[in-house]
Amino acid sequence: MQQGAFMVMGDLYNRIFAVQTSTPGQLVDYVYWNQIFANLPKGYTVPDMPVLSLKQTAKRATI
């Protein structure tokens, strides 16, 4: 973390999490996180559910 960083509650950025939980004690650097938040597209969430659905994508070949 940068010296002298302006810290704010991580809950401000709950929108990007698929399940929104309250973690009031978790502080983050406002400058960086605001920049990230501004640059992310609408609808961006973590985790990446399509990848984590682990659906079989094709016939499994022998390695």
Partner: protein, 404 residues
Amino acid sequence: MNILLCTFWAVPHVGGVWNYMQQLRRELEARGHTVDMLGHGPGNSKIHNVTRNQEIQKSVLLPLLEKKLDSAHYPQLQDPVIRFYELERYCFELGAACIGVEGYDIIHAQDVVAARAIRRIKPDAPLVAHVHGSVAVEYMLHFQLNPQLGVTENSPAWKYFESLEHHGAASGKRTVTANQWQKRLLVHQFGVPEERIDVFPYGLDTRTFRRKASLGTPYRRPPGKKVIICPARLVFVKGVDVLLAALGILKQTRNDWVCWIVGDGDQRQELERMKAKLALHEEVLFLGQRDDVPALLQHSDIFVHSCIQDNQPFSVMEAQVSGVPTLLSTAGGLPEMVEPGRTGLVSPAGDSRMLAKQLAVLLENDDYRKQLGRNAKQWAESHWSLDRMMERLLTVYDNVRHGR
């Protein structure tokens, strides 16, 4: 064009992808394009755009991700392997978003994780996903060869890498691979639409290679010996242990050779122990990571790449351009790099006995060995044309930009 080359791996790093990125940057800049490079920083502690000197420490990102993505709310992240990779991926995505990926005419991702990241943070990006190898296959092999890990085909970790490969490789508007092996893998194992994939080989910058070769090396072929060379990172997938086992067999019948193993990696100590066990003290030299491989090749007689999995290594291309016959395994895209019996020989991956036989044949028969080398050189100079590769890549860029 304003182009971003990005990778999930470190920039710079040791390995073929980094060599490719540097080569690509030089070639694109020589054609008047502007190129930025984005990836992890050395030591994996930050994400940076090296060209613009912008960076973000992962310590800014990770605490909130760890706290919010707890296993109670996200059972999909309970598996420790999956959790580790997912947190790394999200750090990369958020880091890239913070640095910014706007304003590029082309974003050329060099691996499936970077491609997936760009697709997620900029869904309309003019994105090319370049697949240089298969992270999923490397992990599957790792799991198969280490049954104590308890990861099988039905385990979440196994399926996770399959899923990541599928979604990452399919993220680009076009997907590029270097050979038909990689394309078949993407289509048949990972479900990437065939019509989206372009296949063309890498190119070798022969001018730069020859300049480096002319700089020389302190190493010389020992009198009365032939040199077997194996430039490879000393990591599991490179199969250097297969070569050592073959050399152990070869030593029982011949002593007219030495072997230079050029590279470093996490298997170094284990391989040194194997060398000692096989009593190859005098025959095998571990030269470590070196910049003079082009010159070392000029003093070499036989090139070996006995890997378990590889795509289209530059080291093979360099050996061929140097007129050194190549002995390759059947792994990955390697068989597409030689015409067996005309420009080199191929042995089944992991088969040290066959490799030992092939080494003995080439050591015994000078005319045959030299003929293979001459044929390889002639074939390589046309097949690995850098200009041709750039033409094909710029066509892909053009198609992506214009939505074709």
